[in-house]
Amino acid sequence: MPFIPHTDTDIRSMLAAVGAEQIDDLFDEIDDRLRGVDLEAIPPGASEQSVSRLMQERAAADAGGLCFIGAGAYEHHVPAAVWELTTRGEFYSAYTPYQPEASQGTLQLVYEYQTMMAGLTGMDVANASLYDGASALAEAVLMAVRANRKSKSKRVLMPAGVHPFYRQVAHNICANQGIVFESVDFDPAAGTVDQAALERWAGEDVTALVIPQPNFFGALEDVDALTDWAQANGALAIGVVNPLSLALLKAPGQWGTGAGADIVVGEGQPLGVPLAGGGPYFGILCCRKTHVRQMPGRVVGRTQDIDGRDGYVLTLQPREQHIRRSKATSNICTNQGLLVTAATIHMSLLGPQGLKNVAATCAANTRKLVQRLTRIEGVEPVFDSPCFHENVLRLPANADAVLEALADKGIFGGLALAAHYPQLDNAVLVCATETKTDADLAAYAEALAEVLSEHAPASASRTSAPSVA
């Protein structure tokens, strides 16, 4: 028996049964303009050998070099055991199985993950993960609008210091559902939420306030004051966190003088997921117990069977699509199982103290990097706030040109911010994780000094004609 679901004979007999001549007839109701598009830009097939060669060449172009770029995805050491275990056959499936309770091992792992996340964030509940940090924020916004029933405005305050991509994704997913995002500027000296800009919304109907910690600039927000502000104004507090930073910083469950943040989201990549262009990464979402029925995604619970043995089950499923249909809390009916597996093993291997050591080393390395770089004439910190493991520096020359020249020397020196923040001309977001040695930091400083000595100051380069060397 051939394991081909639809043979030509099958297809012909099925078409005959419904009175259609060809499969295309079944799609008649779709406008011609919308189907049968020729993908002219897609080249003809290539052999495995030539594709391997091409990919090796491309990979080699990215390889090597010292990376000081963070901006939402961070280079960390991942113990070899993490992916050795994660890619075992028993775990190597990205899907929650369709008969989930048959996979007790997978469910137990997700349960352990949820427990770790709840512990790290100080929240009551965690879900089994979402796609990435940005979509987790969008889901948190949708969730806040459902959960905050006293607010009728669907108005969400979004600080400019939230990752620009997160803001875009949240807008794309939520804006057509009548949710209005109001930007809150950052203080140009501190790089954190401008208190005066926030106060403009005091007394208004605000559904939720997004609180980044650390924010996109690496700066630490006054999360206690922001959480209290949200609660005083009837808004839910949505924390956007780097989970690694929580090994050192106050857990969102303890923010403010009240009950803490309502919802906490973040990008899970720093917990054992290697850097890759565009992911796959995974999104963290935790909340207080009062909001659990508005939480999207899957949740694993622990229970006991009739013989009193521990067992793991998917729980609170009436929130979900297969039961609640169009009124489900979201269309998320899966999770990033493989990456959650890696993260759970990663955290287990590091332990709380190990995680704390990594976070502290990152913070110390970035501080050392900033000290070294700002010794170079014209390189200055833009903000005066305390930072976690990223910081913004202003260069005395065009940031894009300097970063390009550094890349030629094998140093990826950071992210130029002007594309996202026009007012931060010539500013670069830098990050030094625990993977960087003192020698690496010195190499960056040396290369930057060299590049800057070759580049005319930014003010001059804009006005003078290109020099002829």
């Binding site: 029933r149 029925r293 009436p318 039961i323 609640r324 009124k327």
Partner: protein
């Protein structure tokens, strides 16, 4: 056969309505509805002051096997909700027509009540479903 008190009004979607005569009415789900849903684990109630038209979704009851919407039988404003259900949703299973009431509406206009079913019409709906 489930209990269908004669003095109440009903909807095809299995809500019951107790018209107090002073412009307010108490709403719950019928005994038939609670027994088809199974053990309730959660009841999501509206906020006092929320306004609804007849047929709007007002509340959600969640059992171990399903979540079901509760519709406003008549137009009105929520005057009171049964807060005890937050901690004790099983009241709906135990006493659907009594302690398991869901919310009270201040009616926009009593004429909406005339569209509702009486006990014998509702009994026919239930029997129809059981066949």
């Amino acid at each position: 056969m489930s209990d269908i008190p004669k003095e109440l009004l009903y909807t095809k979607t299995h809500e019951w309505v107790d018209n107090s005569g002073d412009g307010t009415a108490t709403v719950g789900v019928t005994d038939h509805a609670q027994s088809s849903l199974g053990d309730l684990v959660f009841v999501e109630l509206p906020e006092v002051g929320d306004k609804f038209s007849a047929g709007d979704v007002v509340a959600v009851v969640e059992s171990v096997k399903a979540a079901s919407d509760i519709y406003a039988p008549v137009a009105g404003e929520v005057a009171e909700v049964n807060e005890e259900l937050e901690d004790a949703p099983e009241r709906v299973n135990e006493d659907a027509f009594g302690q398991g009431w869901l919310f009270k509406l201040t009616l926009d206009d009593e004429s909406g009540l005339s569209d509702l079913l009486d006990a014998s019409a509702y009994q026919a709906v239930v029997e129809d479903e059981e066949h």
